[in-house]
Subunit: 421 residues, 2 copies
């Protein structure tokens, strides 16, 4: 029983002296009426079970919500908001606070009005109703979904003061869906000939249609036509009743209210993959087909919205790491802006292409910190610094910024988004 | 591309003829205005992102809610409701529809009023505030929670017509918490002497206090003092701000609004573990300390609330399996009341002591089915029939009924809870 916690106990005892910690045998009465006096909640019954046929968070957590940034979201319909990742733990994101990005708003599409067409280079064009889709073999997988523009405002410098705003276009859910492969095989791919150079083009039922081209190799690999997330129906804002899940690839390709899959002999070069969602480089040329979200991480606590408020001593540093190439294998944390690194504890075995949670259980005694995290994935890729990323990509793009983030921790425990020169 | 799906396609094509399936090259216009005519949702923008700071299910899913059974829940405060497992998929249960069981209602306890005391046979009695708890190393695990009385009404015969009501005192979440071991070590267990015969006694801050005794061996193994579920704060009805997680053991021990942990030299023999939550046998004696939830499974679809409505041909049989002893290793499905069995497909690698999802992708052509599922776990244990269970346990208890469930599927696709003689 005498392990590393003994030190932590000593420190905590000191920190708690006179507040919550009791010397052995001292009566709680002397210090804490919350323990010694009968409270209303122990004396009377609470809410009956009929109070919440579908439950919501308790009122004390009313600040753990999706938020937007007014100057980023001038148009309320074609818009975005951010997951409150600074206040969440573990890896699963509840649908109710998972970020939204719509190009023409969130549409209301009833199951009985839902149709999914497969056409183009297939043996048998088909149209499926929702009830048809329920008859196919399905799978469940946990995947992260990250908008290509996540952290995009930070290319030019430290701008948004909070992990929710810098990294909150990100969520992670358990999806239930039919492999795209199954539906393509149902329509038959004989007519497509050699599949190596074939693509699918997918579009949604909303006014934007948000059409995107996906290489056949990916379509036949792990793409899902999904209808549930975290066990229940997709929420309206997440594409009810059916959305595409394109594991590890940018969120824009995860078409919501999916209405059509066309097998094509090349990419469509739609608006969403030419003028948008390509990365304009320093010389004005564009990096195209930048689908995969490279390994990335962020410290969620402490962070600007989650300062250290409990004084000196033990503190838990925690955050999220993810990679569109597979599993996260290691995360390092630096307290001095990247000069020295400590390897963090990776919690549970993370699923490939899913969020991983990391922890550094450490101590803070008021010294200034420049906190950073650095993710590595199973391909050996190491999350780059912003300087390294700018060197190859310039600053013209808002997309695919996976650089190392820095939070400056001040003597009072507050945290600020800073950029190291 | 010519695999098992080809057969499925043939059948689906037949089933869809004249409705959604199109012959190659036939214009959709002839059959389906939902495809050929411009719909409102493709013409106008949908909801802006400001519509849902915290989201709820779309109105079309308003029936996917916790439900109670009026004759079971006469007292609205000391009461229960049921998870709509018939309508869920995957394995994660959203907090908003996860079953509730309160002994004195759901109390509202703010973090600043929260205290957790550790006392009894410890070196240093301690009291923690919520902020103190946030400073300890924490872990994340997915676990099922099942009420000991789940399926309890079925001991005497087939009574409740729906998987939600027969098996819905069950949920499965990703918990974030501090190992109980860590907090006990913080208080110090030197004073307890030989730990082999020591226990902890845990109680909640609600009026019932719901005190339970837990052997020290379990307390030091995998018990968590948890404060988040599925990433966000515990909901009020799930014990905000802190509840106990006792993996694989009956839900009653997962004390909500946890206020005290006492290290004792024996079990307290509280009301909740003597007059309640023991299994009265045929001869009037009681099975005591029946903590572990044995391997169990249920088919969630088709089921009485989820009949087959799509006609003959391909159908997906799906359900949940779980074991308090560890991992589910296999699930079999019978269509003839247990005379013959087919091995189901287990989806993903299931976590130990967590829900597993199984599938049987099959065909139904109107024949009557007596659907059953049978779970096996890593100890080799096989879920028993009701007859086998009654033989050793009698019918006096409402607890720990983990027998095989039967749904009778009629020619019209409806399903009914039946008991085989």
């Amino acid at each position: 029983m005498s392990d590393g916690n003994t030190t932590r106990r000593g420190v905590l005892r000191g920190a708690l002296a006179g507040s919550a910690a009791l010397a052995a045998g001292r009566a709680a009465a002397e210090s804490d009426p919350l323990i010694t006096e009968l409270q209303d909640w122990t004396s009377f019954g609470g809410d009956p079970i009929t109070a919440r046929p579908y439950g919501l968070p308790i009122r004390f957590e009313a600040d753990v919500i999706r938020r937007n940034v007014p100057w980023l979201t001038a148009d309320p319909v074609s818009s975005i908001n951010f997951t409150p990742i600074h206040a969440l733990e573990g890896t699963i994101t509840p649908q109710g606070c998972a970020f939204e990005r719509h190009h023409s708003g969130a549409i209301e599409l009833a199951k009985e009005n839902y149709r999914l067409m497969i056409n183009g280079l297939v043996d048998q064009p088909l149209v499926f109703s929702y009830a048809d889709l329920e008859r196919f073999p399905r799978e469940n997988h946990v995947y992260f979904c990250e908008c290509a523009a996540n952290t995009g405002m930070e290319w030019a410098g430290a701008q948004l003061n909070g992990a929710q705003f810098t990294h909150g276009m990100l969520h992670n859910m358990e999806y239930t869906g039919i492999p795209m492969r199954t539906l393509l095989q149902e329509a038959g791919l004989g007519a497509a000939g050699d599949l190596a150079d074939k693509w699918i083009y997918v579009e949604g039922a909303d006014a934007s249609s948000n059409g995107r081209s996906i290489p056949m190799e990916k379509a036949l690999d792990d793409v899902l036509v999904a209808f549930k997330a975290n066990g229940e129906a997709l929420r309206k804002e997440h594409g009810y009743p059916v959305r595409l899940v394109v594991p590890g690839w940018e969120g824009n390709m995860w078409v919501k209210w999916l209405r059509r899959i066309e097998v094509t002999d090349g990419p469509v070069e739609s608006r969403e993959e030419t003028s948008k969602y390509t990365d304009v480089l320093e010389d004005g040329t564009a990096r195209k087909w930048t689908w995969v979200m490279d390994a990335k991480s962020v410290i969620t606590s402490p962070s600007p919205q989650q300062p250290i408020t409990h004084g000196h001593g033990p503190v838990v540093i925690t955050g999220l790491a993810w990679s569109g190439h597979g599993k996260i294998t290691r995360v390092d944390v630096s307290k001095d802006g990247g000069m020295t690194w400590e390897t963090a504890r990776l919690d549970r075995g993370s699923d490939p292409k899913a969020l991983a949670r990391f922890y550094l259980d450490t101590e803070w005694n008021g010294e200034p910190w420049l906190l950073q995290s650095r993710a590595m994935d199973e391909t050996g890729y190491v999350q780059p610094t912003k300087a390294a990323l700018r060197e190859v990509r310039g600053e013209n793009s808002v997309y695919h910024n996976n650089c190392i983030q820095t939070w400056a921790i001040a003597a009072d425990g507050s945290a600020e988004n800073v950029e190291l020169s």
